[in-house]
């Protein structure tokens, strides 16, 4: 669920027939019978209504509710509009907010600066014609099929204070999941373990799509392997780079399962997603306040979703 796959148009395929046939659109529509029109309408309308009702309507409602003081109990008619007060409370009167933003940013930085380059580097190594490449690849992306919740449990066996491998080998008594000074780093190692394989997979597919003649031309020019990669191959993979960037940002923003199974996002593991959830299903149901937090998430994600769509759709048109 938390994976965002690489979607990219296939450049080997001629331009989609649908766009080239725009001129004949009116003619074709007239050829459709009444039944056909009903069928087409239903084929679009049913899924569309589902997505509108369960995704877009709640998204809009979240934004609206963030401006109210609704407690979630009273009738909707009694809701008072409070403007930006909830946002003011989130930023100024809510101690977990700053650590949560810091942790989300840290998450992004760790995935982006450490895990993503490692994944890319491994993809470059595995892209060489190598015996046993399949084994290495499988080992690296095996964690990708596990849920992040499960990843949290598997690493508990290593991090646990009394029964963990880490303390068993090094003799310390750090509670890696419990100590607020270290637990975010411990969790990031576990998250990175899964992210590296995923990025490796995406770049491996990207590298296979790079025209080999580019590399040969660079080699003839006497360019070293490293400089060929950075000067020729990497720039050519621009669409994939953008997609990986967006995927990483959204994964960091949506990070939730891992911290929720550990301690429900408290005590050093605050994340915005966990704070939103605590405010809804937890003891205090503060709807307007939780919605303000949620709207902040929505706004950040929509910026990157737009970049993403713009990239994939433009590839699509080429």
């Amino acid at each position: 669920m938390s994976d965002l796959p690489l979607i990219q148009a296939d450049r080997a395929v001629p331009p989609p027939a649908a766009t080239t046939a725009t001129g004949g659109r009116g003619r074709r529509l007239r050829l459709l019978s009444g039944t056909d029109r009903v069928v087409i309408t239903l084929m679009v309308l049913v899924p569309l209504l589902l997505v509108l009702a369960l995704v877009w309507l709640p998204a809009a409602a979240t934004v609206l509710l963030s401006g109210t003081d609704w407690d979630g109990i009273g009738p909707l008619g009694e809701i008072d509009w409070v403007g930006l007060k909830n946002y003011d409370d989130v930023v100024n009167n809510y101690p977990p907010f700053v650590p949560a933003v810091q942790n989300n940013l840290l998450w992004l930085a760790a995935l982006f600066v450490v895990a993503t380059p490692i994944g890319m580097f491994l993809a470059v190594l595995l892209d060489k014609e190598l015996r046993g490449s399949r084994f290495y690849q499988t080992a690296l992306y095996l964690p990708v099929v596990l849920s992040l919740a499960l990843v949290g449990f598997i690493w508990q066996l290593i991090y646990s204070r009394d029964q963990g491998l880490l303390n068993g080998v090094f003799g310390g008594d750090t509670d890696w999941y419990g100590d607020p000074n270290v637990n975010i780093w411990a969790v990031l190692v576990a998250a990175g373990w899964r992210h590296v394989g995923y990025i490796m997979l995406l770049y491996l597919a990207g590298l296979k799509g790079v025209d080999p003649s580019l590399r040969e031309a660079a080699a003839v020019d006497g360019s070293s392997e490293t400089s060929t990669f950075f000067r020729v191959v990497f720039p050519v993979m621009r669409p994939i780079n953008i997609i990986v960037l967006v995927v990483t940002v959204i994964e960091s923003l949506r990070a939730f399962d891992l911290v929720w199974v550990i301690n429900k996002g408290r005590n050093g593991l605050e994340l915005i997603s966990a704070l939103v959830t605590q405010n809804v299903v937890g003891e205090a149901s503060r709807i307007g306040f939780g919605s303000a937090l949620a709207t902040i998430m929505l706004a950040v994600s929509l910026i990157f979703i737009t970049v993403y769509l713009w990239t994939v759709m433009r590839e699509d048109k080429r």
């Binding site: 979607i7 529509l29 979240t62 290495y136 095996l142 964690p143 919740a149 373990w193 949620a294």
Partner: protein, 294 residues
Amino acid sequence: MTAAVSPGRRRPLRPARVVLHLFLGTIAVGWLFPLFWAVLTSFRSYQYTAVHGYVSFGGWTIDNYVTAWRTAEFGKHFLNSLYITVPAVLLTLFLASCVAFVIARFSWKLNIALLGLFTAANLLPQQALLIPLFRMFTQIPLPAWMSDSELLYDSYWGLILVNVAFQCGFCVFVLSNYMKALPHELYEAAMVDGASVWRQYWQVTLPLCRPALAALATLEVTWIYNEFFWATVLMRTGDKFPVTSSLNNLRGQFFTDNNLVSAGSVLVAIPTLVIFFLLQKQFVRGLTLGASKG
């Protein structure tokens, strides 16, 4: 995934290659280690490891699996996952292929907007939609024969619908790209034969999309099986939790016994690992569909 080796290019093993293999081998073993450790721990008795520590050898047993299966009622939770995953994947693929077909087959001005609407829905952070969705689900009644909660909240139906709504976007995008690559003449021929739009979809397009549908099905089964958030917040009755979300209850029951936790984790991982090893090609293809040819 492996590149075809062009003839004459395979060179004898050079020192650089040996270093590369050593490096990759070390990384690969390191990557597998946490899983290996979980499997190892799951086969050792708690009494033995409590005395000798985990960095020891011995105390082999399968009791952890027996106990974990019984106390955490894995049988029931696996069935719950099945009830949710299978209908959700089938419905997602069906609805997404409908939309994708219309987008690929006809060119309307709204196509791009439609595609954007579906794809973006897949990328929104779920937690940001939780508040209104949670309220909505607690307000929508269901007849008692559909769910004993008599609400969309705490019912399989609700979970299936929310998973479908979220996963549709991704499938619409992949399938519409795939369908656009099919030759348009197919439809012209079908229309000459007087085939209705529905028959064009069902008998011409869908059979040709089998590879894409297989890859997507593999991927979606894994994702919906792994789904944690919605089941955690939209379910209340412990008995109805799918297996991934029931993991959290397992922690309370097993809190002092990591050997049991590891046995439980291995059990939960088995279905995805089986899918992964059986359908690895489909899985990888699903993730990178469109990036490589085919």
